[in-house]
């Protein structure tokens, strides 16, 4: 990845990041999943996204119990589920800048009808536990990932940690992320059987996006970043 490409991917990712910040200010209890999806996509465009790379869908939004649902983009339909006074929303954004993708997911927590923007201020212990597991997984990735590590090795070690944290991987195809490509169909995944080294991903960057729930939990959480190697160490884009 040359400097121009890195700049382009970083900007696409920043479009998603800005959109998530704007969306957190917009979301409130009583809103529907569909309403939040539309607002997220409008914000992506306002923030500079030139297309939506994931099946033409800019934002996959799930509210409440539906945060446990994992499905492909072609199956996704936003629903009329309303955000409750205390609730969980997962948002996965797919902006594009030219041919460069952004890919960014966060879990939004609502307590007493308002979005809790500082996760350290969460009151609901189940929410705290779930999001802490996400942070541990991303910290683990930064610690263990090396350019020669294969996607499969990462898959096994991260899934072992998911189990160790008392969580379950909710992804419908069991993967934990994917390469960043120009064409959607060229993606390779953090999954069993993929022996490609992490450094050999097409655009030399990949996403890590564990979609998990606590064992027996009533909601799912997701946190996604794009990562790339600098001098052999992983860096968040």
């Amino acid at each position: 990845m040359n400097i121009q490409q890195l700049k382009c991917y970083t900007e696409a990712q920043n479009i998603a990041r800005r959109t998530m910040e704007d969306l957190e200010q917009y979301v409130a209890s009583g809103m529907t999943e569909d309403q939040i999806k539309r607002q997220a996509e409008i914000l992506l465009i306002q923030n500079g996204s030139t297309s939506f790379w994931y099946h033409g869908v800019g934002a996959l939004v799930h509210v409440g119990e539906r945060t446990l649902v994992s499905q492909g983009g072609r199956e996704y339909r936003s629903g009329d589920t309303r955000v409750q006074e205390t609730d969980v929303i997962t948002v996965d954004l797919a902006p594009t800048l030219g041919t460069c993708w952004g890919d960014f997911a966060r879990t939004i927590f609502v307590e007493d009808g308002r979005v809790v923007r500082e996760l350290s201020e969460l009151q609901t212990s189940a929410y705290k536990a779930a999001i802490e597991a996400e942070f541990k997984l991303h910290s683990f990735l930064l610690e263990v990932a090396r350019p020669e590590m294969t996607f499969e090795e990462l898959y096994f070690s991260a899934n072992a940690l998911i189990d160790g944290l008392g969580c379950k991987n909710l992804d419908y195809s069991g993967n934990l992320g994917h390469s960043i490509n120009v064409l959607q169909q060229d993606r390779i995944y953090i999954e069993k059987g993929n022996t490609t080294p992490l450094k050999d991903a097409e655009c030399e960057c990949f996403t890590f996006e564990p979609h998990i729930c606590k064992q027996g939990g009533a909601f799912g959480v997701k946190r996604e970043n794009i990562y790339y190697f600098v001098d052999g160490r992983l860096k968040e884009m």
Binding site: K37, R38, E41, I42, I45, T50, S51, Y54, V57, R77
Partner: protein
């Protein structure tokens, strides 16, 4: 889904496109850039109910001024900051979806002394008026001659002859005049010399001649989606 249900979704998607176009067409003024027009119309597509953009994730391809003669795959489309002039043309091609059923709608907006115009009787610049009248005439001819058992290739030859007779040339980069309406863009059949299937082989198709005078500075486009109704009569969705 039954054919009736599919066409209902296509019709809904088409209504979304028509509404979004009508609103943005009124707003276009000198100084507005291609990028701004694209953003505005895509945001309206979402606001009015589009849940994805089917053409490579792009909701609207917009071309301004001399760029209206450009034709290429949406995959290579890059929006620019070219600004609309007081006497100018803007071509918009919209690709909303409802539950992944397509809308596909293109129109040309003309500016005369800074005022946006979409009806031929209001146009005073001869080149603009002739371009729009030729488009309307081509669609009128299509509705008169198309029959369910006519092949895509036969339609292509008839309409190409008509187009040349009106003193225009086909600008389309792959020389087609439209395509079948599908759930997957890869499955499209085109109104070109190579497709010998009857028009009735698809549930709906678009007709979208992109034309100019051989020495003309501007390109014109007008696209509608058509399906055969009772008695084999062609209807606009």
């Amino acid at each position: 889904m039954s054919t009736v249900d599919c066409l209902r979704c296509n019709r809904e998607a088409q209504q979304i496109a028509k509404r979004a176009f009508a609103e943005v067409a009124r707003q276009i003024c000198p100084g507005m850039t291609e990028r701004e027009i694209k953003r505005r119309v895509e945001m309206l597509l979402i606001q009015y109910g589009s849940d994805s953009f089917w053409r490579y994730g792009i909701g609207a391809t917009v071309h301004v001024g001399p760029r209206t003669t450009l034709s290429g795959s949406a995959r290579t489309y890059r929006v620019t900051d070219l600004a609309v002039q007081p006497n100018d043309c803007v071509v918009m091609d919209l690709a909303p979806s409802r539950s992944f059923y397509w809308g596909d709608y293109a129109r040309t907006v003309f500016l005369e002394e800074g005022r946006p115009i979409t009806e031929p009787e209001e146009l005073t610049i001869p080149a603009f008026r002739e371009g729009l009248e030729a488009e309307i005439e081509l669609h009128r001819t299509l509705r008169r001659i198309a029959r369910p058992d006519m092949t895509f290739a036969e339609l292509y030859w008839r309409m190409s002859e008509e187009l040349r007779g009106l003193g225009f040339e086909n600008l389309d980069f792959s020389c087609n005049l439209g395509h079948s309406v599908e759930l997957d863009a890869k499955n499209r059949r085109f109104i070109d010399e190579n497709c010998h299937q009857p028009l009735s082989a698809c549930e709906a198709f678009t007709f979208e001649p992109h034309i100019r005078r051989p020495t003309g500075r501007y390109g014109f486009k007008r696209e509608d989606m058509y399906a055969f109704g009772k008695g084999g009569k062609l209807e606009v969705l």
